[in-house]
């Protein structure tokens, strides 16, 4: 478990967590970025940029 930086709710984490991965807070819907895995740290994910994609 980690805490959502937006609403403070608990966010469930899976075993194969990766730094750089994006998670959704199921309580407030915020996109969160994993910035550390040991221990897990979540930060607010960057906003979508215009040149993102394939």
């Amino acid at each position: 478990m980690a805490e959502c930086v937006e609403c403070g709710a608990d966010v469930a984490l899976h075993d194969d967590l990766e730094v750089g991965e994006i998670l959704d807070c199921t309580t407030c819907g915020a996109e969160l970025e994993v910035t550390d895995t040991n221990p897990p740290v979540l930060e607010k994910a960057p906003e979508l940029e215009e040149d993102w994609g394939e």
């Binding site: 194969d16 990766e18 991965e21 215009e50 040149d51 994609g53």
Partner: protein, 289 residues
């Protein structure tokens, strides 16, 4: 081998690759490009002892520059900066396909609203206006009328980045409610799927339904040609069916494959890592000679 993965966001695609690489015992160095500084002469320490770098940058701008730095540091990178440059820009993409004699939708480019309006009137309605840089079906406009064209051109000319003042107008292709995505490694198809939707946009990112697709000889040949036309590498080649033939509308250089992997029986990340291993071995042979 020691594989560097350039990223700024780990999607499911990157997780699949990381998992496959680690399962095979490869060392993986994840390189978050947001945290790096790239000197024009000296590679950052993260690049030490890498056999190969795979560019998985989510942002096109980062991808274009970081691959240039990899080349400058003499670190093999897939895809190459040359491939990235052609694929990242729809104008360069269309020119490369046409230059290679590959069927691709007719396209005109203009730099002013008036010139773009002239193109649109000549193409007739509907036609399509696309941003030269962009993905996932964003900011694409199917133009059905003159009044819609005038409004969209006005918006593009007034708002946004200068690239929106490059007006890329394309004929509307009456595809059968679907298009085809082929993942290919140096022109060799790994797997293919159709993306179907009632909407004119059939990108997987726009929620299109996907199903496996078996390529015929003509499609395989076009994929190989399209790959060669943009410089080869790990690519997503997009085709549309036009009656009994195909047209290639674009080639993507930081290809996403999670939807394809869920659609096909082929183990896509395994096939990609097979290719990465072969590519790294090839580079080592060239260096040793």
């Amino acid at each position: 081998m020691n594989v560097g993965m350039l990223y700024s966001r780990i999607r499911k695609d990157e997780k699949l690759l990381l998992s496959e690489l680690r399962d095979r015992g490869h060392e993986v160095t994840k390189i978050d490009v947001r945290k790096q500084r790239f000197n024009i002469e000296q590679a950052p320490p993260a690049f030490d002892d890498l056999d190969l770098v795979i560019d998985r940058c989510l942002a096109t701008s980062r991808s274009l520059y970081v691959t240039q730095f990899c080349e400058a540091y003499d670190v093999p990178v897939v895809n190459s900066p040359d491939t990235a440059e052609v694929c990242a820009d729809k104008v360069k993409n269309s020119l490369a396909l046409t230059r290679a004699g590959i069927p691709t939708p007719n396209t005109d480019v203009a730099f002013t609203k008036d010139a773009a309006m002239e193109i649109i009137e000549d193409f007739g309605y509907p036609c399509v206006l696309k941003p030269v840089i962009g993905s996932w079906g964003r900011l694409m406009a199917k133009i059905d009328s003159k009044s819609a064209a005038e409004a969209i051109l006005e918006h593009k000319a007034t708002l946004g980045h200068y690239e929106h003042k490059v007006f890329y107008v394309q004929e509307f292709v009456e595809k059968p409610g679907r298009d085809i995505r082929v993942l290919a490694t140096d022109g060799e198809p790994v797997a293919a799927m159709v993306r179907s939707s009632d909407h004119w946009l059939t990108n997987a990112a726009q929620g299109a339904e996907t199903a496996e697709f078996e390529l015929d000889d003509e499609a395989r040949d076009l994929v190989e040609q399209a790959s060669d036309a943009v410089g080869g590498g790990l690519l997503g080649v997009d085709l549309m069916e036009t009656g009994d033939s195909y047209t290639v509308h674009e080639v993507n250089h930081t290809v996403e494959f999670k939807a394809l992997n869920d659609t096909t029986d082929v183990d896509v990340p395994a096939a990609v890592v097979d290719w990465l291993e072969a590519t790294a071995a090839e580079r080592q042979e060239v260096t040793a000679q």
